[in-house]
Symmetry: C2
Subunit: 221 residues, 2 copies
DNA sequence: TTTTGGTTTACGGTTTACCGTAAGGATATC
DNA sequence: GATATCCTTACGGTAAACCGTAAACCAAAA
């Protein structure tokens, strides 16, 4: 079981529940922070002091305030930490239940567990901690399909960029010009049309307006 | 100060924080529920028993599960309760910070306070409870403008319906047909164009796609 | 009743989106 | 080196959105 745990979550009230869970598992050394940057610095310092944390439990969304932050979201924090210290176990504990996010964190960035805050969130968090301490991964039932499903969401960054530009009010012509001026390829009007057509089919959208409404609802942009 | 309080929030962990606040204010009779329907029934029963609650603190978003619910959201619960029992004080405590929602709840439905969950959420909740117990209203600073601003949102239900239909993928032609078949007037293609043009100007949108993206971000649909 | 202001509807013209087809180019496979 | 495959680009036709103008309609004010 873990000995030294860091909890990162900007809502003080939720932290209380997490601390209770950790306490019930007899984990004594628990610290908490409310900013991603603080989490990063603490973990770095602990490594230098030769007393590293063996588990980080972090939220994803942190409300921005007056403090300038290097890491704007828990996602960025997780990605950076897993890159620099792959041995550090990380459990994400978030209200966010969008599959795309789970897929990215668990699949690409090797997060060890993903727990959805919710009615049974704390129970699941307990399970996650046990699983991760046994070198297993854990994801909440409601987002489990994110991993099993081989949903070929072959939507790449270019597609996302495209719909973002669209939702910002640019015409397909303007998007083409924008891509050309930024030396991004493909940039022809025809290619843009093709991509959008593919996306419309993929999301079963009747037209571009419908497409934007759908991807906004899905939280892709 | 209040004597009998009901807390409604589907995230058990957050409730703990709320209970702490209430406890620190020496409010002893505190019950909590995790479903809107339970909140409604409890309040009704308490009135019948001649021991009514004098404050309800409720979240807005409740994740749906296997239980069939009459009230799908805290918003519906608040509207129903305020209609049937205007004397019951209600504090909304939600992560939702869209002005339109605050405006609706506070302006139209006479909610007594609106507190945003966040880093200072519990502090503000304390202030809100004090204010409401003095027959004042309270809203979190970050959404205060929702009330002060006399934003001439001369957007009527027809406009909202229009953008909803648009975002559902209907063409202007189809919208016209839909309105005609439902005997809603105006229904001509020309009128639809005019309305949408007005909305585009109002929201500074370049085109229909942009408009939908904007109103979705504003939470109007 | 007439006037006036507003809304709804109709219509024509321009721009943009949508869709299929096909040519050009790069890379991989045999 | 020839062939296949995938992606990018080009083009043309149709549909839809966009935009201005004007007529028709309605209701309140004169």
């Amino acid at each position: 079981m873990f000995h030294k745990v860091l909890v990162s979550d900007d809502l003080g009230s939720i932290n209380q529940g997490v601390l209770t869970v950790l306490d019930s598992m007899s984990i004594k050394k628990v610290q908490q922070v409310q900013y991603c940057d603080d989490a990063y610095l603490r973990i770095k310092k602990a490594i230098l002091d030769d007393a590293p944390y063996d588990l980080l439990i972090t939220d994803l969304s942190f409300v921005a305030d007056y403090r300038e932050q290097q890491f704007a979201s828990g996602e960025e924090l997780v990605i950076a930490l897993k890159k620099e210290h792959p041995e550090l176990k990380i459990i994400v504990y978030s209200v966010e239940d969008r599959l795309q996010r789970v897929r990215s964190l668990m699949g690409t960035h090797n997060t060890n567990a993903y727990v959805c805050k919710g009615r049974r969130g704390l129970i699941e968090l307990g399970k996650a901690i046990k699983a991760v301490s046994n070198d297993e991964i854990y994801v909440s039932p409601q987002v489990e399909q994110a991993l099993s499903e081989k949903t070929n969401l072959e939507i790449d960054d270019f597609d996302i960029e495209l719909v973002k530009l669209l939702s910002n009010g640019l015409s397909q012509d303007e998007i083409s010009a924008h891509l050309k001026s930024n030396n991004i390829t493909p940039s022809s009007l025809s290619s843009i049309e093709k991509r959008l057509n593919k996306l419309r089919i993929q999301f079963k959208a009747n037209n571009a307006i419908h497409l934007i409404a759908i991807v906004k609802d899905l939280g892709l942009i």
